[in-house]
């Protein structure tokens, strides 16, 4: 350590923060029944290929005494059934940090979901 240049500590810290803020994991929940809403126009090449995915990346502010919050899935062009087939929730170090330093008042939300295809 004694031979480490003086600028190394902040560099390591910045690197750690950069990597930490990027580090994340996802949890995906998928219904066993039903058909996902298709997207014949899109060109995704990930797990959701050919599916109509709704993505939400936002920060929600709530007051200190509020325990939790609920996002409502409504009928829309991408979700005509307003019923969910697949939901993916992504957690990041940055999101946890933000929630921690704001005592839970600001909560980052990174979700993807696919609705059920309409039945006829």
């Amino acid at each position: 350590m004694k031979n480490m240049p003086s600028f190394s500590v902040p560099v390591v810290l910045i690197l750690f923060l950069m990597l930490g803020l990027q580090s994340c994991y996802s949890v995906r929940i998928r219904g066993a029944n039903g058909v996902p809403m298709p997207d014949p126009v899109g060109e995704r090449t990930d797990y959701y290929r050919s599916m109509e995915v709704i993505e939400m990346d936002t920060t929600i502010s709530i007051d200190l005494v509020t325990k939790d919050f609920t996002l409502l899935v409504r009928e829309s062009e991408k979700c005509p059934t307003a019923r969910i087939h697949t939901l993916e929730y992504r957690n990041t170090f940055g999101g946890l940090l933000l929630s921690g330093i704001t005592f839970g008042r600001k909560r980052q939300v990174h979700i993807k979901y696919v609705c059920l295809k309409p039945e006829n």
């Binding site: 058909v35 126009v41 006829n120």
Partner: protein, 533 residues
């Protein structure tokens, strides 16, 4: 009213990234809301009017038209460089037990169901399950639309059952823009529904075995398949076993399908004399690069439906890290000798686990298949008695002129009555190699070159074969279609060109039909070929 969105897309691709292919226009039709048109039949007929409007619009622009569903085919059979129509939202379903049957029908009306073209296998299974019914067979997964399945001949490994098209008993086709261009087809030898039913669809009835069998695996060339009548059966359970067995026994079973007199038996699946029961499904997995004494085999036995049974679906499913696969392929393209090593490492993820007592319905056993990245598959149909020799030849080719990043499998399908079904042998062994799509380099040949060599090797060794219409092949190979199907080719063409007007035969032709020569009519077409009998 049904409505169509027009997307000016310039490229289209298959689910498995076998393109991209050029495109001028993509149509996506959605049905009228149930609140606006509550009757299913009215909503269905309203959609037919919309499809005819699109056909007219396409015809006026002197362009071609092709419908597609889930885009699971890896060949360009579903593609048209002019206008393509996405069917997936056209998914009306109807139990036909209350509809008037044909007076001479032999079908139990409680087994008959009507499905619009865009219903996928999974949804169909759910509809049938709600009536205590099941499909007779499906492919290895459940995402294909019913119209796509029958057009390309989707199959499983139900050796005494057949392919998806084999339980279709009625076809509703739209062959042009005029009111008289809507047909309802059945076999005259086994009618299902009454003329009254066809008139509800505003369709002209044609009962003719030859026409029906030609249109069944129609390769998208017989017009727009709007709906099908299918015969389901009472729901059942499938008991699945995966075992490693001596490869000589596995191949002996492939050639004989004589499970009663085989050295291999599953103790729980024997008769009172201790002889092996005949399975519903038999599949062999072969890693072409591994010289082991055993092959992994999958046997599935049909059982009566009883409750309860243990949930066959795993609670947690993992998928391969796609970037890793991409990296391995990039390495393989430049260092093909690494392919066998990579396949060995991925074997656990590719092959099924040796597990016992997995029991479920057809739709549970052949469940969802998540997208795994760009993929290829070459699938040859051979008489099952030729299967061991064909495997030996194709494995030798793959080892000596490859390697390519894939593994072989053998599945077995009963003969189909469809004129151009690749399940044309009494029991057809579908010998397939599936894997990750690669690009040609100086070190590895292209997929088309590889599939060409496979054709050449089978021809050189006088092994009769067919090719899966929805999979990769050198479809431009000279005389390929005639070599595979012989006199069935002009028969198929004649039925097609009798049903469609000249203009519509052109409109419903695509690159695939052109390169295979199937779009070219015979010089003489017999009269009265498609009369209703």
């Amino acid at each position: 009213m049904a409505s169509t969105k027009t997307h000016p897309k310039t490229v289209w691709d298959t689910l498995h990234n076998n393109g991209p292919f050029p495109l001028k226009t993509l149509y996506v039709t959605e049905l009228a809301g149930q609140g606006n048109i509550p009757s299913k039949i009215d909503r269905y007929n309203d959609a037919a009017v919309e499809i005819q409007r699109l056909i007219q619009e396409t015809h006026q622009q002197n362009q071609g038209f092709r419908a597609f569903g889930s885009a699971w085919s890896m060949s360009n059979i579903a593609h048209h460089s002019d206008r393509m129509h996405y069917n997936g939202f056209m998914n009306i379903s109807l139990a036909l037990s209350d509809e008037p049957p044909h007076p001479n029908t032999s079908y139990n009306s409680s087994n008959l169901f009507f499905f619009q073209c865009g219903n996928v296998i999974k949804r169909i299974s759910e509809v049938l399950a709600a009536h205590g019914k099941s499909l007779k067979t499906s492919g290895a997964s459940n995402g294909q639309t019913i119209a796509g399945c029958i057009s390309t001949g989707v199959h499983g490994s139900a050796l005494d059952t057949g392919s998806v098209q084999d339980y279709i008993v009625g076809l509703n086709l739209i062959t042009g823009p005029e009111p008289e261009d809507i047909y309802y087809l059945e076999r005259h030898s086994s009618p299902a529904m009454s003329d009254q039913f066809a008139s509800k669809l505003n369709a002209k009835v044609l009962r003719n075995d030859g026409l029906f069998n030609a249109a069944l695996v129609g390769l998208g060339g017989f017009g727009f398949i709007h709906g099908v009548v299918l015969e389901a059966e009472d729901r059942f359970l499938l008991q699945r076993y995966v075992r490693k067995i001596d490869k000589s026994i596995a191949l002996q079973l492939a050639a004989s399908l004589d499970f009663a007199n085989s050295d291999f038996v599953i103790p729980e699946e024997t008769d009172s004399q201790g002889k092996g029961n005949r399975p519903y499904h038999y599949k062999i997995f072969i890693n072409p690069y591994q010289q082991t004494q055993d092959y992994m085999v999958e046997l599935i036995f049909k059982k009566p439906y009883t409750e309860p049974y243990a949930d066959p679906l795993p609670l947690i499913r993992t998928s391969l890290y796609r970037d890793l696969i991409h990296l391995l392929i990039k390495i393989s393209e430049n260092f093909p000798k690494s392919i066998p090593w990579f396949i060995k490492r991925l074997e656990k993820a590719i092959l099924p686990e040796v597990r016992e007592h997995v029991k479920g319905t057809l739709s549970e056993i052949f469940w969802d298949a998540p997208y795994q990245g760009p993929a290829f598959a070459c699938s040859f149909g051979v008489d099952h008695t030729d299967a061991p020799r064909a495997l030996e030849l194709l494995v030798k080719l793959t080892r000596e002129e490859g390697p390519v990043p894939g593994i072989f499998a053998m599945r077995f399908v009963k003969k189909s009555e469809a004129t151009l079904s690749f399940a044309k042998f009494p029991v057809t062994c579908m010998l397939e190699i599936d894997g990750v799509l690669w690009k040609k380099t100086n070190s590895i040949m292209s997929l088309t070159e590889y599939s060409r060599r496979m054709i050449e090797v089978l021809q050189a060794n006088n092994i009769a074969f067919t090719l899966h219409w929805g999979k990769n092949a050198d479809w431009e190979f000279p005389g390929l279609i005639e070599h595979m199907y012989g006199s069935a080719v002009p028969l198929w063409k004649n039925y097609r060109n009798s049903l469609l007007s000249k203009e519509m035969a052109v409109l419903f032709s695509n690159d695939f039909l052109q390169i295979t020569g199937l779009s070219v009519p015979e010089s003489i077409i017999p009269d009265n070929l498609i009369v209703s009998l």
